[in-house]
Symmetry: C2
Subunit: 409 residues, 2 copies
């Protein structure tokens, strides 16, 4: 019987016992950063991931980066050079997106609770606003009438299906996201009445999915739903955003997503669109899939303690910096992220240990009873798959420990 | 059949349909704060909670506040005037504690991953350091020898029992916290050898417990364990910290903790200590129990949306400000915190709704299918029991929305 293993690393080779990140041995990288803990994101890994996608995606498909996954300005700036557009979820994310120099034409703004101020910010910037409710139509009409700036809008649709096997279901049944598919025709009439600048639809059926066929099926259904809804559109559809949902393997037994069938499916949809939605371009927006595997969280062993036969490696990092890796962010059953002793890569995993942080809570756990090479104080622990929903999604003030840094190499 | 209800509010009456906080109607309070969302902590509620404790606790017992529950400097400053001491878990918390003017004699520092810098900071300040490993003895001896500043130390013990029915077990079995009880004699010999200033013991068996008898039993066992360990102490025990663990009712069906039996039990232990540990004082340290019910999180309804028959109140606050209330911080099964429409207190709960935040994730849920009075955009939502592990324990940069404020009234 074999125990499920973590999927092989997509990036970051090892050399002379050290994990290489951005081509630099991790112990030197830590010295160059100047402190532990830190998050490091690898520019070459971002570029390689985008290239792998481009290789299988149809040429005319637009590839967007959803900033919510990792809003570090350097990362967003690097990705802005690699992708066709950026998706934002708040006014602050919009400012980060505009700072990259990305054309507002290729920035879109979604979110179920946009404030009046954020809507005005988005209209002023000239970005595409994914409308999520009738209230947003009224507010945008008021802003457009008062300022004379044309509001560019798409309708975010709550579909009448959901993405199967998804880590997080975001469509189907009642939802706070988007406008129920059956209510879209009335909303389109209101958009026409208010003379907002209609451009298309946005559908987002789920996230963190590792089954290519489920993603392809959701894309096909989204496309068909859009074709039906387009019949009531005030003007021809110019843009159809099919969302994302591409997962990465976090836990033992999970396999990397197979891109080929997704690429083939999208090629078919792009071909169909050329006749059934002439003049429209198709977009997918990816967050986690672009940045998740390109980032590593690094912390240092402070103490090594044996309590009643079990060994704890106590580090200077933990839950407060990396909530997801601790298993406390939406997970029902805690599982270990891939964790390494990053400067002992040439040693066998000869010990069963728990890697914990400095907090006074048993929730502060980076690895629970994992087989790792013997580690001592001063050694470096790496948590892989940490480029998305890490730094920005963690309670960094919890117990008032020092903040981690973020670097792009 | 009756549905379990939330426990009655300990504080905050309603008047003319408005929740009163610090005696002020919530809608005026929101205007005085200048924005939503915000956390508000009530000085009178803090004082009332401490007074209720003092009424049942023996006079000579020391009552400490554990800053980790809520490190807002104004809150810590207010509590410093009400309690006998402060407990800190990091160098930053130590600075906040010292800023209150609390004497270093009555400040103690615990945590399984103290850095060398933090240990030196604590020695320089003259606070009591709860030693959690042999490494800390070595580091403190080095600091003491180099600087000539006497290190004041207690031993944090990982007991050989745990706190029954605890929300979070922190003792018994292998743990990253403290020193296994059976290893304490050897550590005490090392403390003596290194001439550190030994003062006593610290035991912390668990947290968020609502069963008085379980807490009393853990205190009795902690006391007895300390008596045994004291036989190997290099000098007489001056201080015995029995920890905390006092819970507050969060979820439907939970009842407030009965303080009387805990007070009676502690009175008995204090009496025993006068003969069995002469010259020692007993301490309890409470975090959540002092501040949890004195704080409220307030956000505003932005949109009201009906999706396939279910009503969503979309607010400007959510998971990013209040992770625990969203059910994503250590909870296995999500339950609703007590949530109110704070400016509609005179209306019947005539609707079943979900209260959500502005984030693009279904995890962003403040109330799931809860019966509330009809609310409209502009109305104020209050989440009670929010004084502890709220602001500082939330991923406030997640999706880059505006930060909440904190005020003390």
């Amino acid at each position: 019987m074999t125990t499920p293993q973590h999927s092989p690393r997509a990036f970051f080779p090892a050399e002379n016992g050290e994990l290489l990140i951005g081509g630099m041995p991790v112990s030197r990288l830590a010295a160059r950063v100047g402190q532990t803990p830190f998050y490091v994101y690898d520019h070459a890994a971002l570029a390689a991931r985008v290239a792998a996608l481009r290789a299988v995606l149809p040429d005319t498909l637009h590839l967007h980066y959803a900033i919510k996954a990792n809003p570090m300005p350097a990362v967003v700036g690097a990705l802005a050079q690699l992708v066709d557009g950026l998706d934002v979820a708040s006014g602050r994310e919009l400012r980060v997106a505009l700072d990259t120099g990305m054309t507002p034409e290729e920035i879109s703004f979604a979110g179920p609770g946009k404030s009046a101020g954020e809507l005005e910010q988005a209209v002023a910037a000239g970005v595409l606003i994914n409308i999520e409710s009738a209230r947003e139509v009224r507010l945008l009409a008021e802003i457009q009438a008062r300022t004379g700036w044309q509001a560019r809008v798409a309708v975010r649709v709550n579909p009448d299906f959901d993405l199967k096997s998804s880590g997080m279901k975001m469509g189907g049944g009642p939802k706070q996201f988007g406008v129920d598919a059956e209510a879209v025709p009335a909303l389109l009439a209101e958009i026409k009445q208010q003379q907002l600048g209609f451009e298309g639809f946005h559908l987002f059926a789920g996230s963190q999915n590792l089954r290519a066929e489920a993603i392809a099926e959701a894309q096909r259904k989204s496309f068909e739903l859009c074709l039906r809804l387009a019949q009531d559109a005030p003007t021809p559809v110019k843009s159809l955003n099919l969302g994302g949902g591409f997962g990465i393997p976090y836990f033992p037994g999970e396999q990397a997503l197979d891109l080929a069938p997704i690429g083939a499916n999208l090629a078919e949809l792009v071909a169909q669109a050329s006749t059934r939605l002439p003049g429209a371009h198709l977009t997918i927006e990816l967050g986690r899939y672009l940045v998740g595997e390109a980032g590593v969280y690094i912390c240092r062993v402070l103490d090594r303690k044996v309590s009643r036969g079990h060994t704890y490696l106590i580090t200077d990092g933990g839950l407060h910096h990396h909530l997801s890796a601790s298993g406390n962010f939406g997970q029902v059953i805690r599982k270990n992220y891939p964790v390494l002793v990053a400067n002992r890569m040439d040693r066998e995993a000869d010990e069963n240990v728990s890697v914990v942080g400095p907090l006074c809570t048993p929730l502060d756990l980076l690895a629970d009873r994992m087989n790792l090479p013997h580690a001592e104080p001063g050694d470096l622990i790496a948590v892989l798959q940490s480029g998305a929903y890490g730094f920005s999604a963690s309670p960094r003030d919890f117990l008032s420990h020092p903040q981690p840094l973020e670097v792009l190499v």
